[in-house]
Symmetry: C2
Subunit: 164 residues, 2 copies
């Protein structure tokens, strides 16, 4: 079984899949509230499609054990899905470009740090939530609306995900 | 100067102003990701109005010193504004019902705990971000679009906000 080792999560590396949501130097930053507050502005392309609406939820994920076997991926063709960690633990992101069902060689993995969220563009293949070390809460902004907005696909052969 | 002491933030007490965003027993909770994840579903009425769109930003607020003098409030008539704390500190929320400019007696204050976000309904008067104890990062979901979406009003006489 092939092993996939995650890369650091950067805006540039993640660009084919969506946006990194973070208060970092690359973001547009406005001073508001009489100088009390810095606003890192409009950090992701939220997209609910023509007939959907954006909703906000909290996902509470049990931590995964490493090495983790990636044997499936999913996508939401009709809308984006953003995850922002509310805790102080890193987590893993496994993605593949939109298009035909991915194979083992198409997967990319990223190690996201606390303070870094991700927004998957519509149709981007991704693995369900991969919290590490502790139960992890994430604020999620995604689509509600008509139609089937979740496709799943098996990954065969499966891939071993490990930090080293 | 009158003193305003914050109440505990609960969904019921905050209902005239919007929603509390939290993974708590009152929320609809779905088991997803083959049982790995609990989804606390659709926790706030996000509203960008007919000609706006929802955007996601990060607000980084300097901590306020208590007692704090509330001498102004603001509102966003054209859209909702949600704040979710990304850190582990409490923060303060000061609000007044939609309608005419509030006076000192119209203000309500809430002490929000880590893990509790708030969504201000359109037109709800509120004080700008009141982080406590440390620099506080908040994920913010609000409206971008045409028109003037921020009204400010002075509070005279001002009100002293204190935890006791």
């Amino acid at each position: 079984m092939n092993t996939l080792v995650p890369e650091a999560l950067t805006a540039a590396a993640f660009a084919p899949f969506g946006e990194v949501i973070a208060a970092d130097a690359a973001a547009q930053c406005l001073s508001i509230n009489a100088g009390n507050t810095a606003r890192y502005h409009d950090l992701a392309r939220l997209d609910a499609g023509p007939d959907g609406r954006l909703i906000v939820s909290i996902f509470r994920g049990q931590p995964r054990t490493l090495p983790f076997v990636v044997s499936m991926m999913e996508r939401h063709p009709l809308g984006s899905q953003a995850f922002m960690p509310l805790g102080q633990q890193p987590y893993l992101v496994v993605v593949a470009r939109p298009g035909p069902a991915p194979g083992a060689d198409d997967l990319r993995a990223f190690l996201a740090q606390p303070g870094q969220g991700v927004n998957y563009a519509p149709g981007v293949w991704h693995h369900p939530l991969l919290a590490l070390n502790a139960i992890g809460d994430f604020l999620v902004i995604d689509r509600s609306g008509p139609g089937d907005n979740c496709d799943e696909v098996g990954i065969d052969p499966a891939v071993r995900l490990s930090l080293d």
